[in-house]
């Protein structure tokens, strides 16, 4: 075995392009491991955990590119390094073709009537790019995270003053006038409009509405920080006003983790001024009836989808209770567990789904720990081993610095699945899978071999290890909902129609009859 590490000073490519290059190199003959990544702290740690010990890695900075390859022999290694160079070089431009624009100003020369700028540069540079877009009178979809609340407030105040929409920072998805921005799904056009501070929350609700036969007018992402104390819900309030004025929207749905108290007041105030029915889903957050006024509350994302469909006049119900067949499968799985296998281990690509699962599990079991906990005293580090019932948000900032999001890049979650499989206290592994634009081309294909391997690992030490998952998506998504569900089922995963149901089923697998009554009560 031989390996080589090369650090390219001040060389930048986006994380998704680099992930594709890494995957191509890893498949070359004789290559055992390959990583082409930006030299962020997270990536340096992942490289050292993968066994690359070169001191140059420690000296790499966040804006340096690190190429690390391990091969069976020197010839394969040389060939792979050559291929990296060729994939990184821009290639010859055909004669007469101009260089691509290097700035927003240059791009606007080519597209003078642009009305939106999509920005996904590293967080420390994001405000500068977004400010320039707003200054030119353009709406912004800002995907980048690692932008401070102060910067977010400044951007959003500027946008509001100019009558522009500032979606993000940390905005995963929006559907504007039937165009999907960022990570999102192909859904039917319809009369339900959403404003959401949660990317996967928006995906879960829009896809469940689509699967119930109804459709979406608009889905405005605000970014996760919008409902903080500092930002004050500026984008959500703008979104509510836009949907109130939007002719196609007949029902409005608001989605967020529980907002800061003052911000909640402002947002609900704007919602109460609407003449259209408004449904409020502040995941697990208590809203007093006085604050709600005529607004309708929903506890889970699935409840929000079901009630939105009812308000919009849908004939088909979104079924939210576990079926009897599912309950009996879960209880069977529970009986197969070895002594000491007691806990749910949720590993999520979707941050909101991680949050929703905690808010469902918490009242059913004693305590749920997380790197993104619903109560601060249950916080554990994402790097630390799981503790009791654990839900890890693999899309948290600690896991994505200089790396593609786990909806694209399955490598860190797959490692964590194997880690859980070795833990004798893990009773069931709960996963989410997101389809649609931006996501991996074959998420079930990424997970299936790891699920099989994890099950074998557990079986080799006399344990069974059940898996439960839900798939966020529609038949219109290019990965195909039914096909993805089938691949997971064939790998032995219990596939549920929503994250809420997958979570309840996991609790039932882990805790058996002791939680059955509570789950049945809550499913009514």
């Amino acid at each position: 075995m031989t390996s080589k590490v090369i650090v390219k000073k001040a060389t930048y490519r986006d994380s998704i392009s680099l992930m594709k290059i890494s995957n191509t190199i890893a498949k070359l003959p004789g290559i055992t491991q390959a990583a082409v990544v930006m030299g962020t702290e997270l990536n340096r740690r992942v490289l050292s955990e993968a066994g690359f010990a070169d001191a140059a890695i420690g000296r790499a900075a966040g804006d340096d590119m690190v190429v690390a390859i391990e091969a069976k022999d020197a010839t394969s290694l040389e060939a792979a390094l050559k291929e990296v160079e060729s994939l990184l070089s821009p290639g010859e431009r055909p004669a007469g073709e101009k260089a691509p624009p290097a700035s927003l100003g240059d791009a606007l020369d080519l597209l003078p009537d642009a009305n939106l700028v999509v920005i996904s540069v590293p967080g420390q540079f994001a405000k500068r790019e977004a400010m320039q877009a707003l200054a030119r009178g353009l709406n912004v979809f800002l995907f980048s995270s690692n932008v401070s609340r102060e910067e977010e407030f400044e951007l959003k105040r500027r946008a509001k003053d100019k009558g522009l929409l500032m979606m993000g920072p940390d905005c995963g998805t929006s559907i504007i006038n039937h165009t999907v921005l960022g990570f999102g799904n192909v859904v039917r056009e319809g009369s339900i409009g959403l404003v959401s501070a949660s990317g996967t929350g928006l995906q879960e609700v829009t896809t469940l509405i689509h699967r119930a036969g109804l459709g979406i007018s608009q889905a405005i992402g605000t970014g996760g920080g919008d409902l903080s104390e500092q930002v004050g819900g500026i984008t959500m309030i703008q979104g509510i006003e836009l949907l109130e004025a939007d002719e196609k929207t007949r029902v409005i749905v608001l989605i967020s983790k529980p907002p800061a108290p003052n911000t909640m007041g402002k947002v609900l105030g704007a919602a109460r001024r609407c003449t259209k029915p408004v449904l409020v889903n502040f995941l697990g957050g208590d809203v007093s009836p006085r604050m709600l006024g005529g607004l309708r509350p929903a506890n889970t994302l699935e409840d929000a989808a079901r009630e939105a469909c009812e308000l919009a006049g849908g004939k088909r119900r979104v079924p939210t209770a576990l079926t009897e067949a599912a309950v009996s499968v879960a209880l069977e799985e529970n009986k197969k567990l070895a002594k000491g296998q007691e806990y749910v281990r949720g590993l999520f690509a979707g941050g909101t789904l991680c949050y929703e699962s905690q808010s469902i599990l918490q009242p059913l079991v004693d305590a749920v720990y997380s790197n993104a906990p619903i109560t601060p005293e249950r916080k554990i580090s994402g790097e630390a081993p799981s503790k009791g019932h654990t839900c890890i948000d693999m899309g948290a900032e600690e896991f994505v610095e200089g790396r593609a999001h786990p909806m694209m890049d399955f490598s860190l979650r797959n490692l964590r699945i194997l880690q859980e499989a070795r833990d004798t206290e893990a009773a069931v592994i709960l996963l989410d899978v997101e389809l649609g634009y931006g996501s991996n081309a074959d998420p079930a294909g990424q997970l299936a071999p790891i699920v099989r391997k994890a099950k074998r690992l557990a079986e080799d030490s006399g344990r069974s290890l059940p898996f439960v998952a839900s798939v966020v998506g529609t038949e219109g998504d290019f990965q195909g909902l039914a096909r993805q569900q089938k691949v997971l089922s064939e790998a032995g995963v219990l596939v549920m129609p929503s994250n809420a149901q997958a979570t309840k089923l996991s609790a039932l697998v882990a805790s058996g009859t002791s939680v059955e009554a509570k789950i049945r009560e809550r499913s009514k």
Binding site: A10, Y12, D14, S15, I16, S17, A61, G62, D63, A99, P100, P101, A102, S103, L104, D106, A107, L108, L110, L111, D113, A114, N115, L116, V117, V118, I119, S120, V121, P122, Q124, F125, K127, R128, E129, M131, A133, L138, N139, F143, S144, K160, D161, K162, G163, L164, L165, I176, N177, T179, V180, L181, G182, Q218, L242, A245, D246, Y437, G438
Partner: protein
């Protein structure tokens, strides 16, 4: 007084999107596959990736 869109003026929700994409190139590709006009910016970190220098340039209005 801040400039606001007057009533009747079209908001982003009723316009066909025309997009400048800065950053991850697949976001631009996904928009093109939905028949949206997109121009990609060949983005590089400003001032060779130096955040402090970048903030200084921003203040200078560069």
């Amino acid at each position: 007084m801040p400039k606001k869109k007057s009533k009747g003026e079209k908001t982003i929700l009723s316009q066909k999107l025309k997009v400048v994409n800065i950053g991850i190139s697949t976001f631009g590709d996904d928009l093109r596959s939905q028949d949206v006009e997109v121009v990609d910016v060949d983005w590089k970190p400003p001032a060779g990736g130096d955040v402090e220098m970048s903030r200084l340039l921003e203040k200078l209005g560069s």
